[in-house]
């Protein structure tokens, strides 16, 4: 009944640093459940992150954890995976870390289809630095650097991942905890680049500036704005206005995985 998260968490690390109502803790729980479901040997698991609130996640987990520089998680993780393909490699981070400064590494890791699972917590803001807008802050919304409303158009992270070549792309939200671990499990089990975007809550810097009176309001909007892919198929464009799709958005099991491809290079080099 009560889930034993504590066996996956380094002793003495709780309570964690995330703000009251921040969704990252919920995602971390989902990741722990997924790693347990996949029976990942934590000695053989690298959890890599960049910089930002979401990127503090690896520090809490008892595994080979690598808290890198802002935006560079996917590139560090590529080095880990290439050097030791037998390791399970999980990347995590936020929307700013992953798609702004980290965008180039994100799209190239997707392009390579290297076997890793990227859990991208999209809370629409740079939380750690106090609430600046990110490439995913909805247009028109407020942030500490868009006091007149965000003029920027934004990324659809999942489309970006699909367009770049990732072969398992899914989305869920912090208000759908069971789906978090289900999708991360499938991502881990998928051989290739798996991107799981979790629409997340930042009540402290995003919620406050965008008319969300409370943490609960933010969680409730995740429930109302999320539309499972299957349900969306039967809905009209108007009905889908302001919504986003959740579940598995794209999966390709044909595209070769990068380390497998490089194993062929080694065979040729040693055979020749």
């Amino acid at each position: 009944m009560a889930y034993d998260y504590e066996k996956s968490i380094r002793p003495g690390k709780l309570p964690h640093i995330w703000c009251p109502g921040c969704g990252h803790g919920i995602v971390m729980k989902g990741l722990i459940r997924a790693m347990d479901t996949c029976e990942l040997d934590r000695k053989n698991t690298a959890i890599v992150s960049g910089i930002g609130c979401a990127s503090r996640l690896p520090g809490y987990l008892d595994a080979c954890t690598l808290h890198t520089a802002h935006g560079r998680a996917a590139a560090f993780a590529t080095g880990v995976k290439m050097a030791k393909p037998e390791m399970n490699v999980i990347c995590c981070g936020g929307d700013g870390d992953g798609t702004a400064i980290g965008g180039n590494h994100f799209i190239h890791a997707c392009r390579r289809n290297i076997d890793m699972t990227y859990v991208l917590m999209n809370n629409y803001i740079y939380g750690m630095t106090g609430g600046q807008f990110s490439p995913c802050t909805p247009t028109g919304h407020n942030a500490s650097t868009t006091p007149y409303g965000n003029p920027d158009p934004i990324f659809d992270i999942s489309k970006l991942a699909i367009g770049s070549g990732a072969t398992f792309v899914a989305r869920t939200t912090a208000a759908h905890p069971r789906e978090i671990d289900k999708l991360i499990t499938q991502g881990i089990q998928h051989k290739g680049m798996a991107v799981i975007e979790v629409i997340d809550d930042c009540p402290t810097t995003y919620g406050r500036r965008n008319k969300f009176r409370s943490v609960v309001d933010m969680m409730k909007r995740l429930k109302t704005e999320a539309v499972p892919v299957k349900a969306a198929a039967k809905m009209t464009a108007e009905q889908l206005e302001g919504k986003f799709l959740t579940g598995i958005l794209f999966q390709d099991t044909e595209k070769p995985e990068y380390c497998d491809q490089y194993a062929e290079v080694i065979k040729k080099a040693q055979g020749a």
């Binding site: 000695k43 690598l66 520089a69 560079r72 050097a83 799209i107 490089y262 040693q270």
Partner: protein, 377 residues
């Protein structure tokens, strides 16, 4: 058994040196004039079960090298000035996280795009002060294809032994010219491998320096689980802002190099015993300096050459001694004055220190060195 000999380009000698040292990972990005290092390693590494990857930019290349090194693979990247500029933040990361890796900088004319196919030595201060924050640095400056081979091996040894990034800088001339190389036999050159942790996984702390300045680094994917971060951290690898710990760790990471200069330094001296003027030069410039010494000697001028092979940590002791001995030191370097300031600092006025430089894309020639020597004597 006759030694295997080959006519090798400097960049290729670097790649061969890396393989000899046991490199198992290269993460790079194409850039003139260093690309041949990558090309050769893309051929050689998979032969020995190593991995080559061309990343999306130099930052990614540096990141992949650090990631790979953490799994236990000896890792290297090669680039030129612009690439080293891009890698600076992560070079600092490798310093604070103490991750062994080798960075090759085949220097070209700078700044910015500069002269990609021209030589330069204007990245030498960058090798020490390029990234933000206080940190140690080791930089080696070979002057021949043979020495590129041996210094690349030494760079890996120093990186593994001192658990940090080590840079090897040679300019485009040395990188692109071809010279006769004698391949050392396996075992002939010392190759240092990473020291395994002395405690079991449950007691392991990645930065526990109670047993020595340089804590052993366990491999990701072995029996050890631990945390790595770029934040100031305590001995267990977790972030701390505790003043005493932050201060102690910063100083340890510098002292581990500065306390071991004798082990790291490497210089060549040519006819300095009775020299009244020292030409202080490295890399390809030292070839002109050596020629100038010979010519000056013919003209009865007691000249000598001091050639650092380890540029950082700076060879302060020997430079100071030569400053006491000589009337003047001429620092010849393909820039508008960089190492000259270190020489001046160390000479403390005990002799005249002048600079002979050049940034027009041509190498410094013996004649201009000789003119400067005569001018200053």
């Amino acid at each position: 058994m006759a030694k295997k000999v080959a006519l090798l380009q400097g960049n290729e000698a670097c790649a061969q040196g890396a393989v000899y040292a046991g490199a198992k990972f290269f993460g790079g990005y194409p850039i003139t004039p260093s690309t041949e290092v990558a090309e050769v390693l893309s051929v050689e590494l998979p032969k020995v079960g190593g991995k080559f990857i061309q990343m999306e930019d130099e930052i990614a290349a540096m990141a992949s090298v650090i990631g790979a090194s953490l799994t236990g693979a000896k890792s290297i990247t090669a680039t030129s000035g612009p690439g080293v500029s891009l890698k600076q933040e992560l070079i600092g990361y490798a310093c604070i996280a103490e991750v062994p890796c080798v960075i090759i900088n085949v220097m070209r004319g700078g700044p910015s795009t500069g002269m990609p196919t021209g030589p330069g030595q204007s990245d030498v201060m960058q090798a020490m002060w390029g990234t933000h924050g206080d940190h140690a640095a080791i930089a080696l400056v070979p002057d021949s294809c043979q020495e590129i081979f041996t210094e690349t091996v030494r760079a890996f040894n120093l990186a593994e032994k001192y658990r940090m990034p080590v840079q090897v800088l040679f300019d485009e001339i040395v990188g692109h010219m071809r010279e006769r190389i004698e391949f050392p036999e396996p075992g002939e050159l010392e190759v240092i491998d990473r020291e395994a942790p002395s405690v079991g996984p449950d007691d392991y702390k990645p930065y526990d320096s109670t047993k020595g300045q340089i804590p052993p680094l366990a491999d990701f994917g072995s029996e050890y689980k631990y945390h790595v971060t770029g934040l100031n951290k305590a001995d267990d690898g977790f972030p701390t802002t505790k003043a005493s710990l932050v201060d102690a760790e910063e100083r340890r990471q510098i002292d581990k190099v500065m306390d071991n200069i004798a082990d790291i330094e490497s210089n060549e001296e040519y006819m300095t015993e009775d020299a009244e003027v020292i030409i202080w030069a490295f890399g390809s410039t030292s070839r002109s300096a050596r020629y100038a010494v010979n010519e000056l000697r013919k003209e009865g001028i007691k000249a000598g050459m001091f050639r650092p092979i380890t540029l950082w940590p700076f060879p302060a002791k020997r430079t100071a001694e030569l400053a006491d001995q000589a009337k003047a030191i001429v620092v010849a370097e393909m820039n508008l004055g960089q190492m000259v300031y270190e020489v001046e600092r160390v000479a403390q006025g005990n002799c005249v220190v002048v600079h002979e430089g050049r940034v027009d894309g041509d190498p410094i020639n013996p004649g201009q060195i000789m003119d400067k020597v005569k001018e200053v004597l």
